[in-house]
Symmetry: C2
Subunit: 197 residues, 2 copies
């Protein structure tokens, strides 16, 4: 096995999420076979992104500007704030093109195992906005995991004292879902929150 740049590169690649040692080697070889059209551009893209992308000081989203393109978009409803755990959750909602409000990224969910406590959640700018009376509704869109539920509970507790509507994404059977394949928790929730037709 070579002890050189290549080994170092494979080592770094194998630290990426969902990439193991074997995939890392395959990726490194693939890069070496495509130096001009992939390897150099990729290195440049990584450096450019590392240098240019900032966290939006309002919501925590990533963008090239100090205020992200969602927070600075005047056509969006700034009175409606969707609270999510991470940037990928914001992207998931944006992908659907189903929401016209703005976002607030907590930067994680409360978790005893991962050692994320209330102090680690980014709530400051959200509370400031609410205290300034700029927000009418907060939509809690944390994940449907234990951590996400705990976080939603904690955040709603924090916001209860303000004059702001608090809502939570609905739980139930996903569209196209077959009852036979769903867990009992989902079925129970779907049954309990059933709606009259």
């Amino acid at each position: 096995m070579q002890k050189n740049d290549l080994e170092l590169l494979i080592n770094y690649i194998s630290k990426l999420p969902s990439v193991g040692k074997r995939s890392a080697k395959r990726i490194a070889l693939h890069l070496l076979k495509n130096k001009e059209n992939l390897m150099f551009p990729l290195a440049k893209a990584i450096t450019d992104t590392a240098q240019n992308i900032k966290k939006c000081s309002e919501c925590g989203n990533y963008d090239i500007s100090e205020i992200c393109n969602i927070c600075s978009n005047e056509k969006r409803n700034h009175e409606q704030v969707c609270v999510v755990e991470n940037v990928e959750d914001l992207w998931a909602i944006e992908r659907g093109n189903i929401y016209n409000g703005v976002y607030h990224i907590l930067g994680g969910a409360l978790s005893a195992i991962d050692g994320i406590s209330p102090d680690d959640l980014n709530l400051k700018t959200l509370l400031a906005k609410i205290q300034a009376g700029k927000v009418k509704e907060v939509i809690l869109a944390t994940n449907a995991t234990i951590e996400g539920q705990t976080t939603a509970h904690f955040v709603s507790g924090k916001l209860r004292q303000y004059n702001v509507k608090i809502s939570r994404l609905a739980f139930g059977i996903p569209l196209g879902g077959e009852l036979d394949y769903l867990d009992e928790g989902t079925l129970l929730t779907a049954l309990e929150t059933r709606r009259e037709l």
Copy 2:
């Protein structure tokens, strides 16, 4: 969705083997969260590797020197050449620490579908070595796929005219393999090439 460096980066990452669009996003976010200890070092490692790693002019292996550390190692047996399809195959054999000869990398296998013809295989330096009488045995270690078998057949035909021993890796039941889970082709080969005890 943002249209900027980040999107470009995700696009490049998604072109890596076994990385899809969704993993690419996860990887990009992971990089942004670990700028100093992963993102910048990775970009540097990619650039360094692209600039410094060369193909060995003897065997086709990747290394920082013109002649790779295997071909330039005088302790290895240069009369025994193991012919493999790709660098990853060389690495697989080296990993086992089971072989003390040198290698020759064909750079692929004959394949009508992928359009790899005999002219695309790197055979020149191997033939030159054999013609110079430096090689006693050529071990064909191409994969046990249709393409690998065809390639082994083609290469052995090319070498038949020279005074050199030609061998092929043995086929059979992998160690720890259970007969019930093996395909018939492997079983047939194992039966036909059975050895007396």
